[in-house]
Symmetry: C2
Subunit: 190 residues, 2 copies
């Protein structure tokens, strides 16, 4: 028995995840109520029961995405004590072809809404802080750690785009691992 057949009715979560799927591949601008309803096999009567409007869905979906993403980092990266190893793990994780990164790489240039820009800025600042902390723990002074983390994060951002632009998709785990190793060698002093 399939998951779909089991379900009698939809939940807000179902809508959110459908929206995230669209965002990952076509961007926030492509999230439209009626097409989504069609894809889910219902009409928008259902949608407006769960959400007050289109933007409400987008907000909730992105909130869900951020929570998942933060969890990933908090569980897999932040606990690593050795800063060098922590950085390496971060590069490796960022190369993984998971939906979360797909969404991020789509959002990166989406300036269609002030809300999106705000979210992007917040996320970026958070992660820059993490990187900076790692570099400082490695003995860098403030200014150097800042420049270095900016560079490192640029590489991350650039990598997401390059992969999608060149291959139409994020790379497989194997190539990603190789690239992460190479980048780490460049950006983490030995």
């Amino acid at each position: 028995m399939s998951e779909l057949a089991k379900k009698k009715s939809l939940t807000a979560k179902d809508w959110q995840e459908a929206a995230l799927n669209v965002i990952a591949h076509q961007g926030v601008g492509a999230v439209a109520v009626e097409p989504l309803a069609r894809a889910l096999g219902v009409t928008k009567g259902s949608f407006y029961w769960h959400f007050s409007n289109r933007m409400d869905l987008v907000k909730q979906a992105l909130k869900r995405w951020r929570e998942n993403d933060n969890q990933l980092i908090e569980q897999n990266i932040l606990p690593i004590k050795n800063p060098k190893k922590r950085l390496l793990a971060w590069f490796k994780l960022s190369a993984e072809p998971i939906q979360s990164h797909l969404i991020y790489s789509t959002l990166l240039a989406d300036r269609s809404h002030a809300m999106i820009s705000k979210i992007l800025k917040e996320i970026t600042l958070e992660r820059l802080a993490h990187l900076q902390k790692s570099y400082k723990e490695m003995g860098y002074d403030n200014a150097r750690a800042k420049s270095q983390s900016l560079l490192a994060y640029s590489v991350y951002v650039g990598f997401l785009h390059m992969a999608k632009t060149l291959y139409g998709a994020l790379p497989g785990s194997t190539e990603a691992e190789d690239y992460a190793q190479f980048v780490a060698k460049q950006l983490i002093p030995s």
Copy 2:
């Protein structure tokens, strides 16, 4: 007497440049015929005299952008004989806050149309080839030059996004120059 007052009627070029302005700040999806016509002080009767449809305008505008951009590179970067200096010049140029880079940084994540993806891929491959050539001239073997140029170009792409995301605009020439110096030190072996 203003430029505008001098003009009796619009040319295709006027429409293209107006479109590029929109693309730079809101993306291709925001290029709409009627709003553009309003902004130019005419009606769409004019538009459909110059272009066959909306996509026709987008294509022509992007073509104009690419030509300008290529010219910039061909005149300022490629003539530099010393590969190390050429790379440094490239980093400096890429940090300049000009419209061309604004457009690129907007296009980077715009997957709304297959045509856009195609253009992005072509540009990326072209420039990767330039970088790769420089690194090879510096004595790198094929594989190493490839990885290194991928990294360098990722930094470029990432830089554009970071600047826009964090500060809402590309940085001024002075900060850009500083950052370019720092990046060059990291990515160009001495």
